[in-house]
Symmetry: C2
Subunit: 183 residues, 2 copies
DNA sequence: TTCCAAGCGGAGTCTTCACTCCGAATAATA
DNA sequence: TATTATTCGGAGTGAAGACTCCGCTTGGAA
């Protein structure tokens, strides 16, 4: 791949993360091109479809999340690692909106096993790992499942509003995830 | 207003709640007309703009929510009333999506004080009432504010996924909202 | 029953946006 | 430096959807 092509590809992806992060699916390809400082043609050569572009953006974002989470899992304190990751995912990078937008779309009719699916699974597994370690350490309630935790993360990640309010809401949820009195 | 006009208005609103509830802002006016069994012209006579139609739908929905919540507030058990209303709002009627969609839009540039705003405030107040009564009864943690509770409700209301998972997630959050050990 | 203001339907307009196409520009190689 | 395969840019195309317009229909008062 020619060096200019590679550079442009990167700039487009970065611009896409910005645009779709702000406006979700409603962001236009033209806007992405404008912010990346390239022509529309260029965007469409690298990503033949808007959908593909969004997917690429999401995969990039999810992959990063999964890696961070996994890395943190290595560290010592199981409970703290779980909570930190939870917080981080909620307030994470932008691209949240695009994530929802896509996840809400009807499943891709091209039956092709999906890259996004795969990346999302990696995130889920990372969460699962952190969760079960936290539970084994007795720092997270035992009856919580990945499904619920993952859903809570997604729900909070898409919450609009004041950052401080979101943070306090997360605190409440984490309290809900702490071991029950009876345990 | 002629009786047929009134009937059509109602049918359009009902159809709109359905369509926007399913597809959010992406639902088309044409689809609303089709489901209501009327022509597009009719839809646009009653609601001169798509935005107006969505707002009307939301106001209708929110008003209903607020009334239900207020009614429940009258009842005896403060803690139970709070929790029940919380659950109800989360799993509430459809129209959730449209709600988000609009709330996420840049504030209406027509500086007009907004009906939606007003309706949302009523819901908020109802929640506040239930919350503070629950707190006074010692059944809800004292340091929770309406902001946080309201945000949690909205976040969960927009969560996608299995109903049972959502329900369990709500249980977790409600645990987080129960009084702290030290209290 | 008659009459007409109020209401209806839906073809047509206009705008937005995803996507195509091809001549101009350029990185990489000899 | 010369050559050329690759990449770029952005005008152009087609589709979708919000909104308008106007001839036809109809509820309901006289």
């Amino acid at each position: 791949m020619r060096s200019d092509a590679q550079a442009n590809r990167d700039r487009v992806l970065a611009a896409a993360e910005e645009v779709f992060g702000e406006s979700g699916n409603a962001g236009s390809t033209e806007e992405v091109a404008r912010r990346a400082g390239v022509g529309i043609g260029t965007v469409f050569r690298h990503f033949p479809t808007k959908r593909v572009l969004i997917k690429a953006t999401i995969v990039r974002h999810l992959t990063l999340l999964a890696e961070t989470a996994r890395a943190r899992g290595e560290g010592g304190e199981a409970g703290a690692a779980f909570r930190e990751t939870f917080r981080e995912m909620v307030s994470g990078a932008p691209a949240k909106l695009a994530l929802v937008a896509l996840l809400e779309e009807p499943t891709d009719s091209t039956g092709s096993a999906d890259e996004v699916e795969a990346a999302a699974t990696m995130v889920r597994q990372a969460v699962e790992e952190l969760l079960s370690r936290g539970q084994q350490a007795g720092e997270v309630r035992a009856d919580a499942t990945v499904d619920e935790v993952y859903m809570l993360i997604r729900a909070l990640a898409n919450a609009r509003g004041d950052r401080t309010v979101v943070d306090r809401a997360v605190d409440i949820v984490l309290d809900g995830l702490s071991p029950r009195r009876s345990e």
